[in-house]
Subunit: 324 residues, 4 copies
């Protein structure tokens, strides 16, 4: 399914793995400030913050999977099947459809205070994009600087959770993952010591034994734990190169190799792309399953006052630098 | 520590992760056919098969970590501390030092039958490269087409094991890893079914739950299991691009992110490089910790009848293809 | 902490482990029909169903840990620290203190329909037994024939959950345990088959490998899973002897040996007693940590129309039948 | 299958679980000093140390599963299928059949020095009891005071291992279990501390979380770890009652409940009996699957100079002490 991460070094980075068994022709997409954003119930934003992220364009409308605006506010939608419930239109609220949600937030908020204010009035209602494009059952991570939130619309309403871990995966609800993390208290990147008993001369026979107990499977609950583990260890990257590099290593730890995750019908889910945004500079880095090289698109290098969507197709072919 | 893998698609691939907390300035190194290979006890090979692989050159001598010869025979040495024992010189045997072992085999063998014949006479003896360069405690994987062997020189002699898994990690002895794999019989890339009890309506809440039980830590025993799991699943890459891509995904599943594996003194071990050789074409692909782009060196593009070592320094800097 | 179980064979059994590091001088206690039960807010039950169970008597009042009434309705309170919240008195509800809860239900209900009816009006309020005896933070399992409920008074009110598993442990909330059970779908009492890969000849080297993945620790979340596993397997005891015997084997699988569960201050929690009630016959069987022999008290053998509590001190000394 | 344990408190205890799906009518059996012990190749012991243990008598010969002699030397045979190999008769050795092995050692040795001396000359040869009673594939634990040995006759000969853990289960070889115990270094009976990361406020939500990571299944490798864990924790029983009680709690932690371990044909293996011998006093305690009460037979209360076997049938029926 998917994993999203926010990561603070001397910069602030945000990104995700998209794990599916098919692709919707998503592209890196820039929505400049004057591209008109029409919403079904809450009117139109004629001017708004510019946005960069991964999106499928449909009938001229950018359906973002994950995105960052020019102020650095970032947001991603992740699969949440069976738990996501979007309710009927509710009078007196900002009725926003899930497919509009990322644009609604990133178009208008320059910090987390503004995000929280918008969230306090929002109602994610059950308006599909079209008859043929039903609502995806998603939940969301929103991050900015030191803060990270999870937004889940479930059977008994909209839940907003502080996210001290800065990781989101899929089912079940976020509070479950957060609680379960306590089960891994003793898992460590440090050299383990013998706590079993001093009566027995137990000792490590390999480096890396401190992390024993960490689950290695590809379920959402295990990906949550594993991403959290790699993220919070005591290595502190310095500068853009080390930060971006380490960010992709965190995502690699929860990526889905082809063959390991069957979906119905004998197909396999795999990590279609992994992304990392430098949220302060608006640079969107990504790699794809068969192209481990990084590609980058920079928001600031485009005319942000334009009213036209800009799209960069994904580079999916293996790239090799040949020495001879 | 390290993980080595051989992988058969419509080609035959061989490679490894090198996990350490420091680098010995290793380079992709080609030893052409007429580079004289001098051995301490078994004479000199004036002509031999050409070899490509990763090596540190010391006093003009290529100390290979992993390599493939022009016939496709491949070999890697992996850390085996505490278990590797190299014995004194023994009359009547081919006394080969561990640092010469890869060259001795790859210089002379064009298939596994020839490898087995050489191994039957070999004695890995305790001759260091020099006073300042002691012997590394290694064990070895040798692979060619459908066959894979593990060679371990331990306290009670030289052991040669068939390797049906095509994976090698570190401690303890290979037979331990092979036996332990049985503990993971029920771990699967397929959609899991409820075997717990038909009295309870258990069902998957996430894709990827079939692999629950797979260990996620960085110990050698868990890396062995995890690499084996990703490798043997039912995805069959076609052609060079898919094969090379999938090979690196197998290695990514056991790579060591910085911060997760402390070594003494507060340093962290990490995956310095990952390699994948197309053994039939003699193309050595690699990536490094901070440069996820693939670089390739092709054995066949050089003058193989030369008598000079050829070395290509590793490209370790983050490479980004910028769209704008 | 504790584990409670209900178990259906050709009879219906209910019981629990009490895991603590100290004892409150609890005794098997019979409350006959005419023992006056005074409640702080909901009046007095002068006549009620007779009750048998484990209780500490305080100022003449039986504080039950677990009990069954003459109709077979059974109930146990288990530790739920940090999650149990009892709210202030609420007008218009049946305000029952947690210490009165078991008596309130078992005194009046002869089946689950009656239990549900009482629960629909109940408010567990924050009235302690006395200044010196504060409220214990408990949640509850109530069972009768084919039905089992969990009652949890938490921060946002009273939750009543159907319990298809028939097991209760401690923290966190019941819905968490129920969800997590899905993680163990592939754990089985049956002979395992090789799902890892048909490319590798994996096979069991020991009986019992189907249950690999089952957690062996003493946390509440692992005890829940383990008790559920042993309970639902395909062995079906016949008759009283086999049923009672198997019930205690289920409890043994989650009992706490001395030394394995430190509480603050270097003390160890352990299983003070294990109980099993034949709910139809009103026979309370138990064993204690140092006395593995079963002791039984039969409700039906006493004068149930009495107005006096009856108590049987626990037999805690090791009993040995000596052959010679 | 089975688990054997030796346990030192202020006494020295030895015992085991016998896990099978059928019973051979085993009885507690005393072999007095003058019962003639005939061996197939090594002659006859007319006088020997008296022995108490669990045995099946066949054609007047006691086939011991586990036993202790009047000096306290103790020994048990445990299932070791696929690994146990008994070789042909070998000249110049003490050729002892596996079915004679326990009697040969316990009949003659009063301490571990004498055991080691006998073992140095022994050859376990492939002589069955009879055509209809083939050799069971066993390995052995021998214990006395502070010492414990494991004896395994495997494909490449007889192996004698020091056993610092004082536990034996079944497959694979003992050295495997011993090595694997290192994987559980961080599992503890103590209150766990947050080693995951100080950046996250992880904390225990239940007692017993220190032992997370302990496997809960019924395979031999997991029973070895679990028995070892319970045994070595910091609780130190004082005196006979606490010691015997705790010993059975160790065995309970690895006992096989009916239904959890299928054998071929839909039958279930279960713990037929659990035993504990006070090796200094020669008291054999046991309980059976359906009778959790302890029964004891005392070696010293019989005429040890007799020449007749003494047998006590197992008390297998549920025993209940009824209070009313």
């Amino acid at each position: 399914m998917c994993t999203a991460v926010n990561y603070k070094t001397d910069g602030f980075y945000f990104g995700r793995n998209l794990d599916l068994h098919y692709s919707y022709d998503e592209k890196v997409t820039i929505t400049p400030r004057n591209f008109p954003l029409k919403f079904r119930s809450v009117g139109e934003l004629k001017n708004h913050y510019a946005i960069i992220g991964m999106a499928t364009e449909m009938e001229g409308y950018p359906l973002y999977y994950d995105a960052t605006n020019e102020k650095g506010v970032s947001m991603a939608g992740l699969n949440f099947p069976g738990n996501a419930v979007f309710h009927p239109f509710e009078e007196g609220k900002d009725n926003v459809s899930p497919f509009e949600f990322i644009l609604w937030i990133l178009g208008q908020c320059q910090n987390m205070a503004e995000v929280r204010k918008l969230l306090s009035k929002i109602h994610l209602y059950d308006e599909p994009f079209s008859k043929d494009v039903p609502l995806a059952p998603l939940h969301y991570m929103i991050a900015y600087k030191d803060e990270s939130l999870v937004v889940e619309s479930v059977a008994d309403g909209l839940k907003i959770h502080e996210n001290p871990v800065g990781v989101l995966a899929n089912n079940p609800e976020f509070t479950y993952h957060l609680h379960r993390l306590n089960d891994f208290m003793q898992v460590t990147g440090k050299t383990p010591v013998n706590l079993f008993s001093e009566k027995l001369p137990l000792k490590p026979y390999s480096l890396g034994m401190g992390s024993m107990g960490l689950p290695g499977d590809l379920s959402s609950s295990s990906r949550f734990v594993r991403a959290a583990f790699v993220k919070v260890q005591d290595y502190e990257p310095k500068g853009e190169e080390e930060s971006v590099s380490q960010f992709f290593h965190i995502l690699d730890a929860v990526s889905q190799p082809k063959g390991c995750t069957e979906v119905e019908g004998g197909h396999f889910e795999y990590t279609i792309y992994s992304s990392c945004v430098n949220t302060e500079k608006g640079i969107y880095y990504y790699k794809t399953y068969d192209n481990s090289s990084l590609t980058a698109v920079s928001l600031q290098k485009e005319n942000l006052d334009s009213d036209k969507l800009l799209q960069y197709p994904l580079r999916k072919k293996l790239v090799v630098e040949r020495e001879n």
